[in-house]
Symmetry: C4
Subunit: 269 residues, 4 copies
């Protein structure tokens, strides 16, 4: 396994652990990343609670979400969510499907999710998708390719889609961007719910949303947040070992990690 791939798969598990630790993922939900050299493939762990997934659990699938190599592993029944979005959106390199308690009230109430603070700008416009509209009564899981394709159409050119009475799916240019959008998307949802309880909501203007999202998705902001979430994962004893290391979880003394290179550059306005 080339080093670049190993790095990426480690980042996939770290991103997954971050989202588990930040209460985006629980027993359910899954995160994937597109193959960096073959856009017709993607990586995703086998059927397992995301916090428990290890690097050795990762499988490689084609965009029809079938394994490249035969495997004895059980796979996520909803993996077509990932494959169909990678088919429809060539620029997307990372996808998460989740049932975070912060966003589910919107999937239940149908209330529009709008950005209400600067970091929330990264969610963009958030469309709804209701599996029942096209498929009638189902077991509510996105299992058939046509169900995944329908969800990808609802996502359209956007970055987050709410799934009625089910959850949300989020896309990103990279795992870091995906993590940033997903965690702050949850924060935005929580804050919007609280403002609703205050009886008035003032959201970002379209111009603010555009300028602010572009600024927040630059490496310094994303790197600073990533470093913070990694520290929280380390404190929780959830840091995955790299492939050359011992299989045990990263020891507590590694908690004094160096800042990521991206955030340690020179002074600038």
């Amino acid at each position: 396994m080339p080093d670049q791939i190993a790095e990426l798969l480690h980042e996939l598990i770290v991103s997954t652990r971050i989202m588990a630790n930040e209460k985006v993922l629980d027993a359910f939900g899954h995160v994937s990343v597109r193959h960096p050299r073959d856009p017709k493939r993607y990586f995703i762990p086998r059927h397992r609670a995301p916090e428990l997934a290890e690097m050795s659990d990762i499988v490689e699938l084609n965009l029809d979400s079938e394994p490249i190599k035969p495997t004895e592993f059980r796979l996520y029944s909803e993996r077509v969510i990932h494959g169909e979005i990678y088919k429809a959106r060539p620029e997307v390199n990372a996808v998460v499907h989740h049932h975070a308690h912060a966003v589910l009230p919107y999937a239940i109430s149908g209330r529009e999710m709008v950005p209400v603070f600067h970091l929330g700008a990264v969610i963009g416009q958030v469309p709804f998708w209701d599996q029942r509209d096209e498929f009638g009564d189902t077991n509510m899981l996105v299992i058939k390719p046509e169900e995944g394709a329908s969800l990808a159409r609802a996502l359209g050119p956007h970055w987050m889609v709410l799934m009625r009475r089910h959850g949300a799916t989020v896309a990103g240019l990279s795992l870091r961007e995906l993590t940033f959008r997903t965690v702050f998307g949850c924060d935005n949802a929580k804050l919007l719910s609280q403002a609703i309880a205050h009886g008035h909501v003032d959201s970002l203007s379209p111009g603010e949303a555009k300028l602010t999202s572009a600024h927040q998705l630059r490496p310094p902001s994303m790197g600073r947040a990533w470093d913070y979430w990694v520290r929280q994962v380390e404190k929780a004893g959830l840091m995955p070992a790299k492939s050359g290391e011992s299989k045990s979880a990263a020891p507590a003394k590694r908690a004094k990690s160096k800042p990521s290179k991206k955030s340690k550059t020179k002074s600038r306005r």
Copy 2:
């Protein structure tokens, strides 16, 4: 004690610790399991906060909730809840009575609890029971056999019953099913309360509820969630020792548990 029974009693304590760790149970509440070979008996810990109950605290009762063997242990005064449900519902093999903060608002407000997301489908239809209707002013505990029988009648063919100004009782075909229904029933309650605050609630259609509940109660979903909750119990230092092991709590190094066999089967759609 035959191995099958020992396994089951260990699972009873694990299920109890999971529900304590997931904030379903606190100082109060109790979980029981029917005897696998004698349907006229069930197992339940003695009178103790559920998180503190050990395998050595478990007693065997008949369906009148009297001990099979004389015991010096104080027993739960509300154990008739379990016995009367086992009498009325031969297919039920596990019962929990709890006061989870997620569901109590419904017991206080009388607001109907309906499934509002796919995992919540497993609660089914949730009837109310008000001890005052039949028994007038009481100390609000279900202590007399006729009080337990009244509650079992209110539960009827369903799987969860809300007890006005008191709590809830949940039944399952197995401890794993019971745990899954109880924890996701609490999640459903929290999410419904948040959607109520948004001013609109969209619930599952009857067809969705039926198909979705059947799908979620299959072994892969239940096993995946069980493994996740077990890991949380291990991280909290709450994993009970098996009977052959030392009496001390399971050490932290056991936290790298293998996935349950049920969830490690081969790839399938």
Copy 3:
């Protein structure tokens, strides 16, 4: 120091740590206990965040809240709350003043706090007291003896009083009863707030409240809850050493405590 007193002072610190660990107390608030052999005296820690108070911080005061022996310690400026309640209510042996977030919304909104679940019955009827009514604009602390006496009059024959825009004061026959009433009083407050958000509140009937409170304040219920809270304090590393022991916090291995004697009696309906 006789053993009975040492036991009691240890229980005072344990009760304080329980209420800190259960988020009743934070940097502020204080707990006291009456002298078991001299009803004209009571024990209370010196001016310190309650979680940090040790047995060596406890001072002995008369009912005018002056130290029995000269001390260099700074004392709580609001200690007259305790002294004046002990004067007015000979049967009261323990008092806590707190600003728990669960109950403060009632002190701000003026909304009546009523028992809405069986364990909440132990709060009884909860009167309001507004320092401004009698004393006009003040620094809002209960510092002068006449302010403490006014609060004690508002408490009257009850067990909990809400202090407008400030907090609450709770009394008990013993430290265990005080802890039980205070923690479940906070639970009742949280649940009532959630039912208010549901749009309807069904409270206990007067007959239910009376029968239920009497039942819950018997030793088995209180002992079971106490054992549970002690275990949580042990898990948090907050268990205070007894006077004969080393000054360091109780080690983690003590977490496997025996159940309290009171809750290990023989089987009964």
Copy 4:
């Protein structure tokens, strides 16, 4: 580095860790302190999540927020918030900018934040500032000196300012006062939101607010709260080493800290 400065910078990091641990700060936000001997300079960490900032990350800036000595460190893009407030308010010696979830609902709803319990009195009157009013659509960050100066004008003679759709900025005479005002300001915000949900809000009278704020900002109250928060930081393993000590985090055994000198003085009414 003289000892007084080293003490102050250590206190800056402790204050920052307290506010991170108390959920005021997350990946974003920053705390600064004015140079005690040169009012034209202030200290602030380099661009890093506040919880991760170490003493070695602190830089010294002039009031135009430019580094005194050339540095390779990336600096906070919003550091002009600090410099412009130090210019406008000579008595202010410490500033924090944050996005605490407790206060953001007010920044979104426009609901007035008023003191509703005695400890909340320390926020004083809280004005709003909307960057859009003066600068139109921006990336919503306070980056240009004129943006910082505009915010400082909105703050005026007050101690806390809400920034619409963004967060809050708080000032203090000292780091301890800043920490006290910020943490209890968040508590006040949470409690006010809960009282809003109850349907009625009773706030402090102007006379109560003035007398109470003055009383709470005296050393005994602030020291008692500081000691409590330091203990929570120690328990979380977040206590920063002093400059003479090893670089590793303070070990757990230091958790039994002595009370601060200020709070251990003699008995007084």
